[in-house]
Every structure is written in C-alpha cells, then in structure tokens.
C-alpha cells in the first residue's frame, strides 16, 4: 500500500512532534553571514571579493610560483635541451613527433609529444588544476558555492542556464578542461550542450588571457567585450533554438561550515587523480595526432583551402591562416604568432577574437570527445556556424565604422 504525499507528511509531522524539541536559539555568525551573502546588495560585492581571491590565488600559486618560477626553468633550461641532444636523428619522423622542432628554445614552441606535451600537462595544467580544485572544494564545502549560484540564477536563466552554470564559467577562465567536466553539474542535455558550446566559444582560458595581455595589451579590452557580447547573444539564441527543457532547479543553500581538512584532501586527491588518468593521455595523444597531420601535409592543404575564406569573409591577412589553424593545438601560442604579422589594429582584434572563439584547444577537444561523439559533432557544427557568423559580423561592423 502506497501512501499519498499528504499522508506521508502527516506521519512525518507526527514523528517529528514526538522526537524534536526546539529551544530558543539566537542567530549564529554563520546565519548572519549566510543571509548577507545571498542578498544582492551585499552579496554581489562579496561575490566580487571571492572571485578576486580565487583569481589572485590562482595566478600567484599556479602562474607566478609553480609555472613561471620553476616549471619553465626546469623544462626550457634542462628537459628540452637534454631531449634535443639525447634523441637520435634530428631530421627523422620520430624526432618530429616526439621532440619536435630541434631549434626550439622553449617547450611552448617545440611541439613534440614528450616536450610540449609533458610541459603543458605537468608544467602548466597540473598546478593550475590542483589549486583550482582546491579552491573550488573549499568554496563548495564551506557552502559559498550554492549562494553564488543563487545570486547568478536569474541572470543565467535568460541565456538558458541556471545558477550552477557559474561554476564551469569560472573554471573556464582558468582552463576549459576542468570546465567541460564541471558542466556535468547541469541538469539537462540541453543545458550541458549550451554551456559546453559557450565555453569553447567565448570563454578565453587563463593561458590565452595571459598571452593576450603580453602581446596585444591595447586591444584586450575590446576582445573581452566582443567575447562577452557573444556569450550573452549566442547563449540567448542557443537557448531558443536548441530543443529540450531548461528546468528551474531548487538550489539547496546549506549553512556555512568550516571545510574539513580530511574531506577537502580526499576530494582534491580524487579530482587531481582524475585529471592525471583522464586528461593527460588525451593531451599527449592529441599532440601526436596533430603532428602526424602536419607531417602528412593535411594541415597545409587545409590552410590553402581556407585562405580565401579568411581573407574575404573575415578581412584578415592571408598570413594569419597558419596561426589560426595552429590555434587548435595551443591557442595561446597562436596569439603569440599573430603578434608578428603586420596588420591594422582592427584586423588584430578580429584575428584574436576569432582565435578565441574558433575552436577549443586540443585538450578541451579531447574532453568533449569523452562527453559523447554526438554532442561533439553538434558542438562542432554550432562552432563552425558561429565562427562564420560572428567573424563576418565583426568584419561588417568594421566596414561600417570605416576601420576595416
């Protein structure tokens, strides 16, 4: 015999009445702060502070301390020269595949599986992932994350997502690889698809942002503005076009608690291990495959094929085609290559925006493959369409303004 919901609630009330006694309690510090951090007036400044801390700590630890401070020196100063010297036969195919460019001075440029692949996986992404997950876990366990989700919910619903989409969006600004994994917290296929597409398209990763700031500091503001507009507009369009539901979910807001060290350590270990076993092989394999495509002339052929399109439709010089295609491997590197090509600043903005939106890097691509081939094909379709439309639009705006 099944009970109806009402009968069940009556029973619950009867049991609770019998067993639970409420004393007089005053608001605890956690309660007071809990309330202040979800109210928009005080909550939004708090969110700004928390995000600042997130980014600052991320940049200081992963960027300044581990990668710039130690890993670059280690890989460029010792590992790369050693590999270049020790691997036999600089002209051979296997040298190209595994070590890459024999004249390269940094692991960014070498492009071999055992040089760039290892450097990117362990020197750049691993420390980033580690500190990222540490902070995400702290935010999660302390109970702040659900509050941030509540704050963002109204806004994100307009583009077909719910509050929890803020998590992959933040993660994506660091690296799209964990961000793609984080789209799992979203409820429906539609939402995951929208988020994954928007991530790949409009959220530049930390490495890209860093290189942009170094190479094209004057145009970064414009690039980010274009990306933000794109994020909102295409999110809105996608949420209308793609079938499926966008359910309202109830976000449960727990009271604030101090995160427990053992719990945090365990979560952190699980997630980092997940990265090591899942993503690292994909990054290495991806570089190998792209190298093979280069060797077989496929990429060169593609560049020739695509050149007229880039020149007439996007209005960028022919030389940019190479870097744009290389963006598949490392977007940040592509931005660096672009900087050496002479062009007008508007063309530069167009090219940098294109690189950002146009295709996920090889690691993100690998993560998307893992989420399912059908999703991926659809995402590629949308990507291609959006790149064509958006690139053309930017070009058109430039023509109208008389600057392109």
């Amino acid at each position: 015999m099944g009970l109806t919901a009402d009968e069940r609630w009556d029973l619950v009330d009867a049991i609770a009445q019998r067993t639970v006694a409420f004393g007089i309690s005053r608001q605890t510090t956690g309660d007071v702060l809990g309330e202040l951090t979800v109210k928009p007036l005080t909550g939004i400044p708090t969110a700004l502070a928390v995000l600042y801390a997130f980014w600052s700590i991320f940049g200081s630890f992963a960027g300044a301390l581990v990668t710039d401070g130690f890993m670059i020196k280690l890989f460029d100063g010792y590992w790369l020269p050693w590999m270049q010297a020790a691997w036999p036969d600089p002209g051979s195919v296997h040298y190209f595949l595994f070590v890459g460019d024999p004249a390269a001075e940094t692991c960014f440029e070498a492009f071999g599986m055992l040089t760039s692949g290892l450097f990117v996986s362990f020197g750049v992404v691993l420390p980033a992932i580690f500190v990222f997950y540490l902070m995400m876990t702290l935010l999660e366990d302390s109970g702040y994350l659900p509050r941030l989700a509540v704050l963002m919910d109204t806004l994100l619903h307009k583009i077909g997502l719910h509050g929890y989409a803020i998590v992959p969006a933040i993660l994506g600004l660091g690296c799209n690889v964990p961000a793609v994994t984080a789209t799992r917290t979203l409820e429906t296929k539609k939402q995951r698809f929208i988020m994954m597409t928007l991530l790949a398209l409009f959220i530049p990763c930390g490495a890209q942002l860093g290189i942009m700031l170094q190479v094209v500091p004057d145009t970064v503001g414009w690039v980010l503005l274009y990306l933000l507009i794109g994020f909102v507009v295409f999110g809105y369009v996608l949420s209308r076009v793609i079938p499926g539901s966008n359910p309202e979910i109830l976000i449960d807001v727990p009271p604030y608690r101090w995160p427990q060290r053992a719990n945090v350590a365990k979560k952190l270990w699980n997630k980092t291990r997940g990265f090591l076993t899942n993503a690292v092989p994909f990054v290495m394999l991806g570089i190998l495959i792209v190298n093979i495509l280069y060797l077989t002339g496929f990429i060169g052929w593609l560049a020739d094929l695509a050149a007229p399109l880039f020149v007439t439709w996007f209005g960028v010089p022919k030389e940019t085609v190479g870097p744009l295609l290389a963006a598949f491997l490392r977007k940040d590197l592509a931005v660096a290559q672009l900087a050496t090509i002479p062009m007008t600043s508007y063309q530069m903005i167009t090219a940098v925006v294109l690189i950002s939106i146009y295709f996920p890097c090889v690691a993100t691509f690998a993560m998307m493959v893992r989420e399912g081939p059908r999703q991926l094909l659809a995402a590629i379709g949308v990507l291609a369409a959006v790149v064509l439309i958006y690139g053309g639009l930017i070009h058109a705006v430039g023509i109208l303004l008389g600057v392109a």
């Binding site: 069940r8 029973l11 609770a16 019998r18 799992r184 449960d252 608690r257 719990n263 997940g274």
Partner: protein, 200 residues
Amino acid sequence: MHDHHDRLTILMMGNPNVGKSALFNRLTGANAVVSNYPGTTVDVTKGSLRKDRHSYEIIDVPGAYSLEARDAAEEVAVRILDTHPDAVVMIILDATRVERGLYLALEVIERGAPCIVALNMMDVAQDKQIAVDTAEMQRVLGIPVVATTAISAEGVKHLADMIRKAQVADLSAIRSRLNGQEPDQGAVARCAGCGGGGCR
C-alpha cells in the same frame, strides 16, 4: 554493481547537504571510487567498509528529497534502489531539519528495505538548541537510530556496529505506535527502552 553473496551492500541515502559524503568518507576510509552512473551525468561514489570480519560495499547515493524522480539525481537514486533489492539502506537525516529527511525515509521504508537511520549533524543541532530524541525515534520507527556528527566522527563507530541490526520497518506498526502512545507525552524520559523497539 554485482552483488557478491558474502558482501552486504549499503546504500547511503539522504537529502542534499546533510553531511552524507562526510559520513561516507568517515565510514569508508581512503578507497572510494567515483564513477559516472551509466547513462547519466551524476557521480556515484562507492567504497568499502570492513567491520568485525564483515565486509560491506557502501554506495553514496546522490542526494534526493524524494523518490519521485524529479531531477537527474533523484532518478539515479531510484534506479540504484531498484538494482539493489537486497541492500541495507542507511538513511541520513539532518538533525536540524528532521522533517525533510523523514519524508524520504518514509518513502524508503515503504519499499520494504531493511533500514537504519543516522541522525547526523548533532553538533549543529546542539548549537541551534534543537534536541532530537533518538531513543524515541528509534522506538517509533522500529529501526536503529544512531546520533552522529560526521565532522568529528562522533557516533560513526556505533553506526558501523548497528548496520547489522538494520530492520525492515512496518508502516502500520509505526502508525499504531504513534497513536497508541498518544496519551502519555513524557517521551523524553523514556530512555530505558533505548535498545527496545527495533533491534531485537
């Protein structure tokens, strides 16, 4: 996934944010495996517990408010319940919000699975001046009720001991106990019968 006949499966169920995962970590130690539940995007964690020569497989079922499968997590919760008909269900209640959790607990009890209740977050309840009478709850429900604080591991060992005493509760018995005892409300004092009701 496959039930070994010598190995009892325990499903940990409860509302989201009741400290279920923390309790899971306390029970299972460091050997948990997180996996994607087939066909969904909900993560399910499995671990094992060894206690007095008994070995248990513990599954941390995604947090749910009911078994009406209103979202992906609840759907997975129902499916896990369906695929483990012989499992013991450990229901985790938040001592500060007992009602919400009891609703789910009753739904599980109705399915006829052997159950045990962990009344978690007792420390927070104490801070908020909420007193929950575990003995009385145990007597009314007819299944073991153990007070725990996952954060400080209080009561966790007792909880592990009580797993073997999980009982199938009977709704009509719960009803009659609620009605039959209606006249004398002095429930709080009745601690002598602690072990009574459920764990024969």
